[in-house]
Symmetry: C2
Subunit: 178 residues, 2 copies
Amino acid sequence: MSVQSRTLLDIAAEVLVTDPAASLAQVARAAGIGRTTLHKHYATRDDLLYAVAHRALELWEGAVESIPDGPDGGLRALAEAMVPIGPQLEFLWRTPAFDHVVEITDRWKAVEARGLAVLQRAQAHGVLRTAPPWWLLQTFYSLIYVAAECVMNGKLAPADAPDLVLSTFLTGLGTVIA
Amino acid sequence: MSVQSRTLLDIAAEVLVTDPAASLAQVARAAGIGRTTLHKHYATRDDLLYAVAHRALELWEGAVESIPDGPDGGLRALAEAMVPIGPQLEFLWRTPAFDHVVEITDRWKAVEARGLAVLQRAQAHGVLRTAPPWWLLQTFYSLIYVAAECVMNGKLAPADAPDLVLSTFLTGLGTVIA
DNA sequence: CCGACTCTGAACACTCATGTTCGCGACGGT
DNA sequence: ACCGTCGCGAACATGAGTGTTCAGAGTCGG
């Protein structure tokens, strides 16, 4: 059931990102199981949504957890770990309903703090310019998000994504003014 | 009705961004009108959604339309014009259902081309580094989006937004490596 | 071979958003 | 004062998604 549940939640995330109003029947069909069976795993629609959200948080935590320190504070490793879980992050970030669920927002804040820690490590290494922490975080995540999106619709090779994110994040897209 | 319709569509955009599954009753209540009256303006839910989308496109077109050329190709003016219409852009960008509506996607592509033209003007002025056009565009828009979001929840002063977007876009957030 | 388990489609009742109609009251022009 | 227009709430019918139950079919292990 662990593997089953894993792919089920991931498929659900993809379907629900594509169409947030998708019915449970669509999710079940996409997962190749019966609607009744889906209901047996997750009694209500909210149960499923929360499960997918927690699955996303779990992956996010896993990505942020074991980021080793380094010359860049672990920035590159963080980008490498987060781009592949783009679909799940998109689902989590783009579902406003979660903003009022304490279980989720608490976990969210915790993992965000871990991400911020990486950025501040990078800052301590002198890699990052002085800027408001929330702007650093939001900018970094938005680049991850965009890169993941570009990977998904085939415009960007998965292997190129982390480099692109990192170089854009650090040096921007303007010509070097020296 | 022009003014009426204007504020109505803007309110609808905000409500629907906050909760994409909001019922028409919620939208009507937020707009301070009766559900029946809302129905008289926009017969179906889809009609309302499309109207909001076209309203967003209209604002977007207006923002992108009259960008004068300049040393930066008009980049700063574009950022200044787009940040204020953040809510409408969020609604447009975050509603997957529009991806399959030709009327909207056509207009979307057109205005996106105008935005890309500004970026390429900037590139011609030597302001932008060589990079895939879609990455330039996506990155720029995502910064606009994030800045608009930060403005909305009070973390960022509206007047500071364009500068922050532009400096991040051009030089990134890393320390200058000289 | 048999029992336990799971998945499955069919069917059901239920809720809720939707779309429509109708009659009432307010406002503005004549 | 009269009448057309407009917005409004109440009420209704409809459809779709949801959650539940049930019995049959398949698989696996004893």
